[in-house]
Symmetry: C2
């Protein structure tokens, strides 16, 4: 393999080159207002997720690595202020990126099956802090990162996702593009950054089988590796020019099935990836969300209380039955979020299913466990026929009085069709901070206020809990 | 993919676990003398390669990244003393690992199609310097690194190598095992290190198509990522327990064809990977080596001089014809090493084909270009039938006097069957240092002397040119 082979693609003519050109030339003034707003929404949402995950043992180990291998007084900050050191962008993003995916409350881009926030924001924030970028420059870089990362994830497709953690493999390229933008790299250097990122793309699902810690490795390292790609490209390291579609590239090596090349560059600048990313509102498994939404709506509309309910039938799609069937009765807090019965019980009793609503105490709450037993799931062929384009849920509630109510949720709350309000994002952020053991409400309010005015920031320092 | 799935392998029963147990328990006293000697041989060979590659633009960019992202006064050293900073183990190995694969004179382990030295030595040296390991501890860790890395490469096999740069994907796991040994991790933590390394495994061949710089990224990052895996395992980060053979592991995701599971753990402690690794003696393409050896032997035996030769026929195997046919007449120094005619001309004229024997001046040497034209290659069916188990070459020389001589080389010089002598390794090291622009011969002699007595080192500081 030491012999160079001639390229078959004419220069300047690949989809990846068009994507790199677009990414390097995007300016803040070109970004529509709703895209800017969504970027701020997801930034705040990400910030809360990052503080919420800080006590995970993988995050502690990765923070220790950063402390031992990196500088102790860099320009980039850790969101967890209790760590009490600053470092270089690569290490700050390694730690923040690992932390922000722990509680699995970060956003989801459906079409690419990626969680873009957990890689794009930590990397862009760390680089922005180092180069002294403004809020506008930071927002622009994040929009670039979402766009490039999600488009790569969509190109790699479902068969890639079966084997690889797309948040990492698409994410590392989004990170490289976002960092390249903050470093003001031209199109050629951005293409190098994308190429060097892609040749580092990694992340296997094997850790799911024994509940080990690779998920944090994947998001943290996607940040580190993407930043490496951008900085080294700035300093003259050439990356492969066609890392997505080339004959020895990602599409061949990492995709056992079909790729979707048009996703790479179609509708650039008009179809914005960040607008089709979803918030996770409830803290439970995503497959329970439509049923939770339908149940809460039903209870409000019909003035039904927790104690009024005799039984619940949740009509759903097959994938929900498959996944939610695996966790038994929900013996641990984590498993309980994968039990439709327990999740609906929590939602019905508390009126919400936030991260602070699933605790050890709740696991032994007899009223929740009783309710849980009276919930059944049923396959609904009509709902199934529309999944995964639409994630619908129907609940049928029979009351102790004999009354019967039915309600449908066409989308999950947090989907692009049903986005969270500012107040809801704030509420979620506060719950995440509380979960992370941070109780200074005034400080949280200050950070929220800064996030809502992100475009006016003159530098990005101090997003620290 | 947020739902944990139960493991199917009973604990303590996988090949990977057996490999981790063996790796964590190996002691210096268990290592046969010839294995120790070979470890010292390849260490010196690696040291020369590292200084030779230091001026490559990718190495400069990576060194700049290390300078910007890492500390400036760590305990780990850069082999290129002109860089004038020390750093942490992860960054020192990133730079040294990138540098040592540039001139492609580092060793080759045939069965795994890997270059183990370029990843194992930089990582083990950097960690050894940080933990203050002795020469014996360093040698033991390197033996572990070779063993684990090469066995993983052999497990992944030829179909993996078609898509991935095995030196990186197997290498990162060898690095993790070597670093884990120096950190004195137990079997469980070593298994975590191996798992975390494997889920980061990456490195695509796409860069070959446009001669970009990913080769240096792959070797340097294999060092960095493997060190990350070992240190984070020490600090409690759990890696997947069956990253090689598990249902969502490397064997499924990164191997389109057959895997070779028995390679993982058969004959541990009796069949040593480092004993089956080969030196690269000549600086030309490996496929020219048997013919160079045969020609030099023929000229010596029969007292034939460069000017005596009218024509040369090199009889070889098909793969050599395929690869050596791609570079035309050899317009660049790099291409000239892939021209059988030019390489044999250089060898015949200079009596050797060291790295310093291929220069811009040689490209325009009329006597070399004349000779080159009088060399032809022919397919030899018998040689072909034994390739790649045996890399044989036959040359038939017709002299201007009319005399005709034939000589066969059964193996390439540097193969396990024909290892380099101490003097030859020293000569190669000096040529590599010269090529790297380092001219202090006394200093090179000192480093050589230290390498020959590596087991007596009390610390590994100062292997700096």
């Amino acid at each position: 393999m030491s012999q160079p082979i001639k390229s078959t693609s004419p220069p300047g003519d690949t989809r990846t080159e068009r994507l790199a050109k677009w990414a390097s030339s995007l300016q803040y003034k070109d970004i529509p207002e709703d895209v800017v707003q969504k970027t701020k929404d997801f930034f705040l949402d990400w910030l809360g997720c990052t503080i919420a995950g800080r006590h995970h043992p993988a995050v502690s180990a990765i923070a220790q690595f950063a402390r031992q291998m990196g500088p102790s007084n860099g320009k980039s900050e850790l969101v967890d202020g209790s760590l009490k050191f600053t470092t270089s962008p690569a290490f700050a993003s390694l730690v923040n990126g690992a932390s922000s995916h722990v509680v699995e409350q970060d956003d989801l881009h459906n079409r690419s099956i990626m969680h873009p926030a957990t890689v794009i924001y930590p990397a862009a924030l760390a680089v922005a802090q180092e180069v002294g970028a403004t809020g506008e420059e930071f927002i622009t870089a994040c929009v670039v990162g979402y766009e490039v990362g999600c488009r790569v994830g969509e190109y790699l497709g479902k068969s890639h996702y079966e084997r690889f953690h797309s948040t990492a493999t698409g994410g590392v390229i989004g990170v490289a593009a976002a960092a390249a933008h903050l470093l003001k790299l031209n199109a050629a250097a951005t293409l190098s950054a994308i190429g060097t990122a892609g040749t580092q793309a990694a992340g296997l699902w094997q850790f799911l089988l024994d509940a080990t810690h690779s998920k944090q490795v994947h998001t943290g390292k996607a940040c580190f590796d993407g930043i490496f790609a951008a900085y080294s490209a700035r300093d003259g390291l050439l990356g492969p020019r066609d890392i997505l579609e080339g004959p020895r590239a990602m599409g061949i090596a990492l995709v056992p099935g079909e790729t979707f090349p048009e996703a790479i560059d179609q509708n650039l600048g008009s179809d914005w990836a960040i607008l089709s990313s979803s918030f996770k509102w409830h803290a439970s498994c995503r497959h329970t969300h439509p049923s939770v939404d339908a149940l809460l709506s039903l209870m409000e509309k019909n003035n039904v209380a927790f104690d009024d309910i005799e039984s619940v039938v949740a009509r759903t799609y097959q994938a929900a039955l498959n996944v939610l069937g695996l966790s038994g009765a929900g013996e641990t807090v984590h498993q309980s979020k994968f039990s439709m019965g327990f999740v609906l019980a929590v939602a019905a009793k508390k009126g919400q299913a936030m991260i602070t609503d699933f605790t050890e105490e709740d696991l032994v709450d007899a009223s929740l466990r009783e309710f849980q037993k009276r919930v059944t799931m049923e396959l609904d062929e009509e709902i199934e026929s529309r999944f995964p384009k639409q994630w619908q849920g129907i609940v049928i509630v029979t009351c102790k009085s004999g009354e019967k109510f039915t309600e449908s949720a066409e989308f999950a709350k947090g989907d692009p069709e049903l986005p969270l309000t500012k107040e809801e994002i704030e509420k979620k952020t506060k719950a995440l901070a509380t979960y992370g053991g941070f109780t200074d409400v005034a400080h949280v309010n200050q950070l929220i206020e800064r996030a809502w005015n992100l475009e006016r920031e003159t530098n990005l320092k101090g997003f620290i809990f």
